[in-house]
């Protein structure tokens, strides 16, 4: 349904490449010399504890935040140089990136106008994300899960070859979580590059092929789910993916719970 015209042409074209990204906010170094690649045809999990720098990195990929050093290219170009940004990159950065007083349909129709996308595509995305019945309600009244679905509809609007999803399962019900897992796998199978952030390694086990693990803004591992779980098995008998992940992020977790 998404990407009939995309699947043949896009493979090998739209890779995300980050080189030496640095971003500091006052005293905190949110991203520190981060380099990685996101390849087409796979779901790449972007993992790290709270405050690791995942959202900051995604904003830099989108050209929303300017890196202090380093660069990021999408299919060899800066985000700002894309010819049709929405048709090349789709992003879900935060649950509520819309005016609360505007209806879901009006929100999508306005974004669509900027990149020459028609009404039919808007209707298709409302149906695909299951919010068509709420399309004429003001989006400010949406539940978190419905807001998330509207964000996904906006991300898919231009049928893009690259998708950036920042914690897309946030607020979704179990049916919604299963839906988005299948959606992401389907999009990757069509040859798109899908980068999805999460703090939950267990979530990535269901969806991701490749993994980028960061902590305190630094790259801890660029690996695959298969490799990481094989490593987990060597740590202790019956050791899991989760085991290996905690070993990786040990010492870089800034916000961990305690009893005292």
């Amino acid at each position: 349904m998404t990407g009939r015209r995309r699947s043949e042409t896009v493979v090998g074209m739209t890779m995300i490449e980050a080189r030496g990204l640095v971003k500091a906010y006052r005293s905190t170094k949110a991203v520190d010399n981060l380099s990685f690649e996101v390849r087409p045809g796979a779901v790449t999990g972007f993992l790290g504890p709270n405050g690791a720098g995942k959202s900051t990195t995604m904003r830099m990929i989108m050209g929303l935040d300017r890196p202090d050093a380093g660069q990021v290219r999408i299919g060899g170009r800066r985000y700002g140089d894309l010819r049709w940004p929405l048709r090349e990159v789709g992003a879900l950065l935060e649950a509520k990136a819309f005016h609360p007083g505007r209806t879901a349909r009006a929100h999508l129709m306005s974004l669509a106008a900027s990149n020459g996308i028609g009404r039919r595509r808007v209707e298709e995305m409302l149906a695909l994300t299951g919010i068509e019945k709420a399309a004429d309600r003001r989006a400010g009244k949406f539940s978190l899960g419905m807001s998330q679905r509207l964000g996904i509809a906006a991300a898919l609007l231009g049928d893009p070859g690259v998708l950036l999803l920042d914690e897309p399962v946030n607020g979704l019900d179990p049916e919604g979580i299963r839906w988005i897992r299948n959606l992401m796998r389907g999009l990757a199978a069509q040859g798109r590059s899908v980068l999805v952030s999460s703090h939950l390694i267990s979530e990535m086990a269901y969806t991701a092929d490749a993994l980028i693990v960061i902590g305190r803004g630094r790259l801890l591992a660029q690996t695959t789910v298969a490799q990481l779980s094989a490593h987990g098995a060597t740590l202790k008998p019956g050791g899991s993916l989760e085991e290996a992940f905690f070993q990786l992020t040990e010492g870089v977790t800034d916000y961990s719970g305690g009893l005292s």
Binding site: R59, M62, G63, L64, D65, R66, R77, Y79, G80, D81, L82, R83, W84, P85, L86, V89, A91, L93, E94, K96, A97, F98, H99, P100, G101, R102, T103, A106, M109, S110, L111, A113, S114, N115, G116, A154
Partner: protein
């Protein structure tokens, strides 16, 4: 060869596929689909026309002194509603920008159109067109309603008299310029409350604060603060020490351009 130069140039900074028209269409759809836009335009119209009727029907021309009769300007007095109306369109201009920041919509907007000055220019075009249309319609309506409300004994103005048409057209253009100043301020300040305070401060509070000062301060404020400038611009009987209406109009256009330029700079320089 020309082809080689062209393609080399493109590789350095490729032209985007989307044009200004597409971005303006996005901004028009955004402006149109938020209820507060139409509420503010409606209240603006009520203020402009309603206050013209109230002011001119209570003019009491018969009781005026000879000096006041000589100064009586039936055109200018129709635009008393600008005192309130300017605040409404100024706030509308602010909100067009700041609600994008408060809601997070700005990231969706800049993801769709990464060339930020183009976004601001498209907002300015759409907001300017809507407020100019509303401003002119209300200015002519306020003028007509004002003349109709004026006592029969008082001198009436007609559009054919010298300077009257100019005053009415400028009264209608002033709100659009204020809206653009609000838009630029919103892009610079980003927070709704702060930007509205700045705009209301310059439009409304500053002239009041300067009121008790000497005549020379008054003359300066009349030529350089937006609302006193609007007063001078919409007068048919020239006010003492006022610059020419066209010069004041050009100065106000420069204010709007400066606010937009500052806004465009701030949008480009800062992260979102």
């Amino acid at each position: 060869m020309t082809t080689a130069t062209t393609s080399g140039h493109r590789a350095a900074s490729p032209a985007p596929g989307y044009g200004f028209g597409a971005v303006a269409l996005m901004e028009w759809r955004k402006l149109r689909t938020v209820r507060s836009t139409w509420w503010m335009v409606a209240i603006f119209a009520v203020a402009m026309i309603g206050l013209a009727i109230v002011a001119l029907s209570h003019e009491g021309y018969r009781q005026l002194s000879a000096a006041d009769r000589a100064a009586f300007d039936p055109t200018h007095d129709c635009f008393i509603g600008l005192v309130l109306g300017q605040l409404l369109v100024g706030a509308l201009g602010v909100l067009v920008m700041t609600t994008e920041f408060s809601s997070g919509m700005i990231r969706a907007t800049f993801a769709a159109v990464p060339r930020r000055p183009v976004v601001l220019a498209a907002k300015a075009a759409v907001l300017g067109a809507v407020t100019l249309a509303a401003g002119e319609a209300c200015a002519f309506a306020a003028f007509a309603a004002g003349q109709a409300s004026l006592a029969a004994s008082a001198p009436h103005a007609t559009l054919g008299q010298p300077g009257v048409l100019r005053a009415v057209v400028m009264a209608g253009a002033y709100p659009a310029l204020v809206a653009l100043i609000g838009l630029g301020t919103g892009a610079l300040v980003r927070h709704t409350a702060g930007a509205i305070c700045a705009v209301v401060g310059v439009l409304f509070v500053l002239p009041l604060l300067l009121a008790p000062f000497s005549a020379s301060v008054q003359d300066a404020s009349q030529n350089f603060l937006p609302h006193p400038m609007a007063n001078a611009m919409t007068a048919v009987k020239p006010l003492a020490h006022a610059l020419s209406p066209w010069l004041i109009f050009a100065l106000l256009c420069a204010y709007a351009a400066a606010a937009l330029a500052a806004g465009a700079w701030a949008l480009t320089a800062r992260d979102t």
